[in-house]
Symmetry: C2
Subunit: 168 residues, 2 copies
């Protein structure tokens, strides 16, 4: 029987643990949604304005990397970090052109590496940090930022499921 | 400046307040995604396997009503409750056939009524309740159930955005 509970988790302060439970659940559903896809399926364009499933996976990892910088390093991404992620972050034409030709494992490895770094950093922070205004963006707190990382992922997972159901 | 923070909220125990902040943020983005749609647009079928945007909105409200029963009343939905929601819950053929012909306000009124009942009930519960196993489904807790309500909504909001961008 699979257990679905949001609870504090060992290794994290209580509210961070609950957030990690949400991030983990969201990620598990993303990985389930793309399980077994081939390179051709990951590169398939449903129509000329769609994003490929591969590009959506790259986007999910790029959004998470961006919020790592903003919340853990308290700074805007550098020009070189931004340049490296632009195609995946912005999707659209550049995403269609530049993010392709990879096997599923390319994307899942990047998701895994990114998530490992997120969890290692969250384990070093506490609940007071989580809910304080961000220094570089005081209208946000890190709790919103990390909820938003899950929320953006879930939004695109909904699109991935829709696109997958219509693969040729 | 819009403020994006997940924090405890007045009127709720702390963890429930944070959850309400997430539910509210998710709902705001759903309402923004459908703002201004006409009846014809809400009834539009992108292809013969798609759900209309209207049916997705009805689905979001029906999922929330279902989890109200499971978490606040600690019981399965009755036969008549299930029958009233089947088309919206299951989507697909019945959703396409039965959920249509309504203006946007029909759907947003139902979302608002449902959410008011959710918030009123959450205000009567506490964090210990939120994270205890559900009596009728001990592999879940209410925290997961209500996170899942937001998560399912966000998943479909992703699809709504995709469908809206392709309305004729």
């Amino acid at each position: 029987m699979t257990t679905y509970r949001i609870l504090p988790l060992p290794g994290y302060t209580p509210t961070i643990g609950r957030l990690v439970a949400m991030l983990t659940y969201a990620r598990d559903t993303t990985l389930a949604a793309v399980s077994g896809l081939t390179r051709g399926q990951l590169d398939h364009l449903h129509d000329d304005r769609s994003n490929t499933i591969g590009a959506l996976l790259a986007h999910i990892a790029a959004v998470e990397r961006g919020y790592q910088v903003v919340t853990f390093e308290d700074r805007e991404p550098s020009a070189s970090e931004t340049a490296a992620s632009t195609a995946a972050l912005k999707l659209g034409d550049r995403g269609r052109r530049e993010v392709r030709g990879h096997e599923l494992q390319f994307y899942t490895d990047e998701l895994m590496r990114t998530r490992e770094a997120t969890l290692a950093a969250l384990a070093q922070h506490d609940d007071a940090w989580l809910e304080a205004p961000l220094r570089i963006a005081p209208n946000l707190n890190a709790h919103w930022a990390w909820f938003h990382v899950a929320e953006d992922e879930i939004n695109h997972r909904g699109q991935i499921r829709w696109l997958r159901a219509r693969l040729p």
